[in-house]
Symmetry: C2
Subunit: 206 residues, 2 copies
DNA sequence: TAGATTGTTAATCGATTAACAATC
DNA sequence: TAGATTGTTAATCGATTAACAATC
């Protein structure tokens, strides 16, 4: 292992957001301590697994007879996941989905500023929920000036590859795509697919 | 192993939608055969892994010297994933996100009919993209009549638990939630969280 | 045939579960 | 103290990778 973070397994990291969601709920109810058994039961995991996960990311061990301190755990997980490091993001494609995401305010809790959206169509240009929608030509400009690293792609499938190319050309190196199309990107660019239909279909099969 | 499907590992199943996305792209370009090495390279996987995955779901083996027949693979994967079995779904919460999803047409390829949305606010009731938006009171009614099993939850976080309870009460047993809140559900109900902020944050960290 | 590509068996790796000692 | 709960070490399980034989 090269650094401290790589000592935490992928599987653990992938569960951390769910712990966070759960713990925030408990904190909201005024709960101060929670046992691994309680977490496991409510989240559908094993208690031993929970203890192992939490041991890896918590700055202080749990207390026998009490459990884990909720506020502290939230703080530790957020720190571990880097929600305190700020990142600027943009949306490419200002249709219904793009506009909905643009006006969503929940990103700020995760260290993400969604600063603007971009669209080819002049009719879409303007503002939504206090945030600007620019014409596509301005993408490179804004990406450079605001050091944007991440882009949310919400264009129709037929426009996805071209929009992706433009984003990459503008300097974006991570893309969250809602278009159900495999995107070709140069080495060093990461694509993550957020396929609503697939998520839904998986749920049906489960 | 109890049945044929359980012989296919979870990890494999989770990769199938990505294969499908990729293969459909190749089919669209007119490609008829594709080798495991080519798939692996384009998708960032190992060739052996690809062969193992495909061997588990394809009805005919790949041909040495040619590779796998694209059209056939698509057919087999879709069949395996059950995209030919139709399921009815509804949306609860007709805000920006709910309306955007309601007018999204990509679900049909996955065997999913999104038949209607529901909202508490009379102002939201009406229709979007040719699909009806009903008042919440009608949820139980529609769920029963159309045998709806799945619900997409797109209400604000503060309304999520209550909306979830209503959906479960109406007979829904699978929920895809966009609200970043841990939901308490009775045994037998499945919740899947689609947390855009988390997806985006993971992308930033990668 | 030669060579590319497949499918399979064995070895490695990683993650989960089980068992138990440590702690407040 | 007794008991609940934690953290850790060892065993199991599952998935990936490596090596190689089979096939067109």
């Amino acid at each position: 292992m090269v650094n401290a973070e790589s000592a935490v397994s992928r599987a653990t990291v992938s569960r951390l957001p769910a712990y966070l969601r759960y713990l925030k709920g408990e904190a909201g109810k005024g709960v101060e301590y929670v046992s691994s058994a309680a977490i496991a039961k409510d989240m559908g995991l094993s208690a031993v697994g929970v203890r192992k996960d939490l041991a890896l990311v918590s700055s202080r061990p749990g207390k026998p007879r009490f459990g884990f301190e909720v506020r502290l755990l939230i703080e530790d997980i957020e720190k571990f996941l880097g929600y305190h490091r700020w990142t600027n993001a943009v949306i490419v494609g200002a249709g219904g989905l793009g506009r909905a995401i643009l006006s969503y305010e929940g990103f700020e809790n995760y260290g993400i500023h969604v600063i603007a959206a971009f669209d080819n169509s002049p009719a879409k240009v303007g503002a939504v929920g206090g945030k600007p929608v620019y014409p596509m030509e301005r993408l490179g400009d804004v990406v450079k000036r605001s050091d944007v690293k991440v882009c949310i792609l919400t264009v129709p499938r037929s426009a996805a590859q071209e929009a992706c190319d433009q984003a990459v050309g503008a300097g974006i190196n991570a893309i969250l795509s809602f278009a159900p199309v495999h995107l070709l990107v140069p080495e060093g660019v990461t694509v993550k697919y957020e396929d609503l239909a697939v998520s839904l279909a998986e749920l049906c099969g489960a």
